[in-house]
Point group: C2
Chain length 332, copies 2
């Protein structure tokens, strides 16, 4: 509106007003404990009067720390939205901001290129499907943490839920209810989480002497679940449909119901992740809930500067949520 370009307020302006050197003014904002009480107050007063705000960009240039952590996530999927939300909150607590790089599939390359320009303090790869060579290019001395990828690349610290224990618990649970056959519903087959959940379910089913088959949803989505549900209806219902993710399970349940099946009785359905919707009455889904708070806390710890010797692979147990999609019991 106003044609007058208000010059930006800097430490120099503040210093002049407070009658101290530029350096001292700056110090008040960077390390106040090194400045005498009176001086500090004078500078703060001057800053307030001028409406001074420290310039984070300038600080970053000099200090080589941007105060920004990036996260690379797929542009859709409920689960990833949850992850981003938790990450943003956890980072805010330690004074870092979150820069979100979401990719559609094609433009991962551009995404990584963009990442490299900002001197990010660290980068969280919250997708099980970031190609290996891109990873290499993204590193560059930056701290990298792989989130939710149970088979991360060499030397990259990773944080994820204990997929194997979780899936095994689900198989045990349905077996305990008398189930004799399980059909595993794959999301994206190439994803490491899918592979691990699938193989664990299969192995555990064999150990317990259950029949194990599989169908494809082709993606970790609701529509993928509907697709898989049609396959289940066409092939004759197993005792259990074990979905690779909650979102898949929602689609499966809806498709089964529209085919006339009574979920929890005619067929049991399980998910994985523990989305908020899994507890909603319409689905009331038995699932493994990821302890996102603690997983994210670990992730933040690893992604920020500070000695962490050997890149560790951190795993936290999921929480088993038994609900009516397997028990058939009345709902809340």
């Amino acid at each position: 509106m106003a044609a007058v370009t208000k010059r930006r307020i800097t430490t120099v302006d503040v210093a002049n007003l407070a009658n101290v050197s530029q350096r001292t003014a700056a110090r008040v904002f960077a390390s106040p404990e090194l400045v005498a009480e009176d001086t500090r107050r004078a500078v703060e007063a001057a800053a307030a009067e001028l409406g001074y705000v420290p310039n984070a960009i300038a600080r970053s240039l000099k200090s080589q720390r941007s105060g920004i952590v990036g996260v690379v996530v797929p542009s859709s999927g409920q689960y990833y939205h949850e992850v981003v939300r938790h990450l943003a909150r956890a980072l805010a607590r330690v004074g870092e901001q979150l820069l979100v790089f979401s990719f559609d599939s094609a433009d991962v390359d551009d995404t990584i290129a963009a990442v490299r320009g900002y001197q990010l303090d660290g980068l969280v790869l919250a997708s099980a499907t970031v190609p290996g060579d891109l990873l290499e290019r993204a590193r560059e001395g930056r701290r990298l943490v792989s989130f939710n990828d149970p088979a991360p690349h060499e030397g990259i610290p990773s944080v994820s839920v204990d997929n194997e224990a979780g899936v095994a618990a689900l198989v045990d649970h349905v077996a305990g209810l008398g189930a004799r056959s399980i059909t595993f519903v794959n999301g994206l087959r190439a994803a490491a989480t899918n592979k691990l959940r699938r193989s664990t379910s299969r192995r555990r089913a064999q150990v317990l002497g259950l029949t194990w088959t599989e169908v494809d949803g082709r993606a970790f989505t609701y529509d993928g679940g509907r697709r898989a549900g049609r396959a289940l209806l066409a092939g004759g219902l197993p005792d259990v449909a074990m979905a690779a993710s909650d979102e898949l399970a929602f689609g499966i349940i809806d498709e089964l119901r529209s085919g006339g099946a009574h979920v929890g009785h005619d067929i049991k359905v399980t998910g994985f992740d523990g989305l908020a919707q899994a507890s909603w009455r319409a689905y009331d889904l038995t699932t493994i809930e990821q302890p996102l708070d603690s997983l994210i806390d670990e992730t933040v710890r690893l992604v920020l500067p500070g000695r962490v010797e050997t890149p560790p692979r951190i795993t936290a147990p999921g929480i088993v949520r038994i609900r009516s999609s397997t028990t058939g019991h009345p709902l809340g």
Copy 2:
């Protein structure tokens, strides 16, 4: 890992290798069209060899453009996740990155403070509940756009769906189906969207001679919907429960069903926003779908530098989605 601190590659390194001046090397990345073909190639080769990546932080400091747009959103709510996702994608198309500032309620203040330090190119306020005085402090010559706030502050451009036309269409729709009474379910009463949707629904109901009452969900959440649903069950069902948002509607539907009501027959339910889940079979909710793609495109246009004379108030019509939550017809 390696103890050797690899010095950062700069334009100077590239320039030396390519035997040109620093300025020329830099120009190849900033405005390649101003550099001779041969020179460009030589510089590019040198850059590739050294693994040079332009430093966005340094560019920002000098050019006063960070290449980053911020968005302030509540830390939860399906709808806001959708908004963030669309924004990130739209900004990526124009070469900008998205910095997400999510707030929990208490720390809005810190959030705004953090915002000011990064020389953001623009800031999108994607919440109907950012206090006015904070807005003032966030401005600072920066481009500000209010998203989804139908009653934005003076002089701040805003973009939102046409709430009035949408709600009126819903009232007309249920009236056309023979409904005689509507109970409006409030989310957060203080929110501008809630006020506008509520008053429009009330006015339109009066015009058509329908009985109009209201109950409170207290927040735009699933749990808020459950709460409101209990109130509805206790007070005797109206012909229509008109929720202030989809997420509220999901809770209402689940609560009504657990109370034995048959949604679509005993009572009609409508939402607002058009979340993906509204089309899921379990809810199949009649709602007004926000044309997020076009709304976000407008938002991006307004938030980036470029002449936009009078701060406009842009409104786009929502898409009426009629589904079985009002018609009771068989589902897909």
